[in-house]
């Protein structure tokens, strides 16, 4: 029942998504720990899509993942909401942190260097703003989709879709 409700609200529901894993996150530290584990499983060329309401923890997860991959717990990871994309040198090569919240039209992606960035590791907040077709291309190509939900307190649930082989190895 709960699972059904989540699927109905999932931003990728039109892509016939199947949630493959649900992880309960009791606090922010748990979100950061999940980010580090996903960072370890990531590879250059991967796309990690982060969906969820304002305040759901998308940036927190992205920040922890980037700091982990950059081997720098104090790395400055400002919100990319304004600049739309920020790039970082990591041990997976260059990683690009996108926030498409302000994107007006998916055609604007080209101006952000999207096509070049796709060769590297990309983290994308508000991926649904790129439109269902481009989103489906990404999920078909093996993107990991993370949908964060919160009951309105500090706990979160991460609903993961994709990376079936890799997530299996995750405790």
């Amino acid at each position: 029942m709960l699972r059904e409700r989540v699927v109905n609200r999932h931003p990728l529901r039109h892509n016939r998504i199947m949630i493959s894993r649900e992880i309960h996150l009791p606090d922010q530290a748990a979100t950061e720990e999940l980010a580090r584990r996903l960072g370890d499983l990531s590879r250059p060329g991967d796309a990690i899509l982060l969906s969820g309401d304002l305040g759901a923890g998308k940036s927190t997860l992205a920040r922890a993942l980037l700091r982990h991959l950059a081997n720098d717990p104090n790395l400055e990871v400002p919100s990319p909401t304004f600049s739309l994309v920020q790039s970082y040198a990591t041990r997976r090569g260059t990683a690009h942190h996108f926030d498409l919240w302000r994107l007006g039209d998916s055609a604007e992606l080209a101006e952000l260097g999207w096509d070049e960035a796709m060769r590297d590791l990309i983290l994308v907040e508000w991926p649904e703003k790129m439109g269902p077709e481009r989103l489906r291309e990404l999920t078909d190509a093996g993107a990991l989709a993370i949908f964060l939900t919160s009951p309105g307190d500090d706990t979160r649930t991460a609903h993961l879709t994709g990376w079936p082989d890799r997530l299996e190895s995750m405790p």
Partner: protein, 358 residues
């Protein structure tokens, strides 16, 4: 590739007006200042009555919209200034930090214009332009001398900067997550107030009770002058989630907006209080950026600055938000010290103040 900086430039030494171009974010703007810094003409595309004829759209993210607007906006501004291309001493453009597409358009347009006209090109750092705006002649009753403290608060930035001289800046603290303008925009969205959220929140907050909700004051009392706004935004999201989905009643929106704004003001006061203590040589606080238009924040800052026996400078709103007057003025300051980046400067989405030459 030839070294374009060595192109002989007969006009470089002459005094004359400087044209500034700003397109690093959502605004396309052009201004012309005379050699003494007096504004001869200024235009911000989104504020023109009839911007439809300038390419049809107000640029948002689309760099091509900046590009479509710039030629006509330059023509209009030069004609309002009553000068021709040949009268200019130099052309300046925001060359970063900002949205890469817009920065490339402004910088390349400015460079191309300068080369074609045989004029000097000055690559201006957008943050430096905000930080130096207070020194624009005629803005303040008296001269604004170095050193001073600059608080840059906008959609993209949130930092306290020690301004020692033209080109010499030290970041005392900045945001560790969201910018303050982003917090306003996102809370505005949560409250159904549209985008941008800043002016809408300020307006409806006047009807509300600022003590209605106890929201967090992130980092208040903590050492240093860093900022963190993400948790405050999340707290508002959690508060809004407690009410039934759909439009919130207006009095409730007003109370949440007022409580949120009050939290921002108190954090700002605390952080600037710390920044002034960290930089006691500063006898002046200058604010810049779109959030500096918020009157509740201005009032709060004025109180703190007075406690330190310092002076508070808040430029008029049109010079706090993104504009080209500040770009041309920063170029004049740079030309005066003879140290600036020219045609060789590449557009930079990220360009910290500390990396500037002096």
């Amino acid at each position: 590739m030839p070294n374009v900086t060595n192109i002989a430039n007969p006009a470089a030494t002459g005094l004359g007006p400087v044209m500034g171009i700003e397109s690093s974010c959502d605004e396309t703007a052009v201004a012309v200042l005379d050699a003494g810094g007096r504004v001869m003409a200024e235009n911000v595309l989104s504020q023109l009555d009839d911007h439809a004829k300038f390419g049809g759209v107000v640029p948002e993210i689309a760099a091509r919209a900046h590009l479509a607007a710039l030629p006509d906006l330059v023509r209009l501004t030069l004609s309002q200034a009553g000068i021709g291309v040949q009268d200019l001493r130099a052309v300046a453009a925001s060359t970063g930090p900002g949205l890469i597409g817009g920065v490339i358009v402004g910088a390349c347009f400015g460079k191309g214009f300068a080369i074609a006209a045989g004029k000097e090109f000055v690559a201006v750092n957008h943050l430096e332009a905000h930080a130096l705006t207070a020194r624009l002649p005629g803005l303040m009753a008296g001269p604004v001398e170095f050193p001073y403290l600059a608080l840059l608060i906008s959609g993209g930035h949130c930092q306290c900067v020690a301004v020692e001289a033209v080109g010499r800046y030290r970041k005392l603290g900045g945001t560790i997550d969201d910018s303050v303008g982003e917090a306003f925009d996102k809370v505005g969205k949560l409250l159904g107030l549209g985008w941008p959220g800043g002016p809408a929140i300020e307006k409806i907050a006047r009807e509300g009770n600022a003590a209605a909700f106890a929201l967090p004051r992130p980092l208040r009392g903590r050492a240093g002058c860093d900022f963190s706004w993400s948790g405050l935004k999340t707290a508002v999201a959690q508060l809004v989630a407690k009410y039934p989905a759909g439009a919130l009643p207006r009095p409730l929106v007003a109370d949440i907006a007022a409580s949120f704004q009050q939290a921002v003001v108190e954090v700002m006061e605390d952080r600037v209080d710390h920044a002034l203590a960290m930089y006691p040589r500063a006898k002046l606080l200058v604010v810049g950026g779109g959030v500096a238009a918020n009157l509740a924040i201005r009032d709060g800052l004025e109180r703190v600055v007075a406690q330190h026996g310092a002076r508070f400078v808040a430029p008029p709103v049109r010079l706090c938000t993104d504009n080209a007057v500040m770009v041309a003025w920063a170029a004049l300051e740079r030309l005066a010290i003879g140290v600036y980046d020219g045609l060789e400067a590449a557009p930079r989405p990220r360009w910290p103040l500390e990396e500037l030459r002096f």
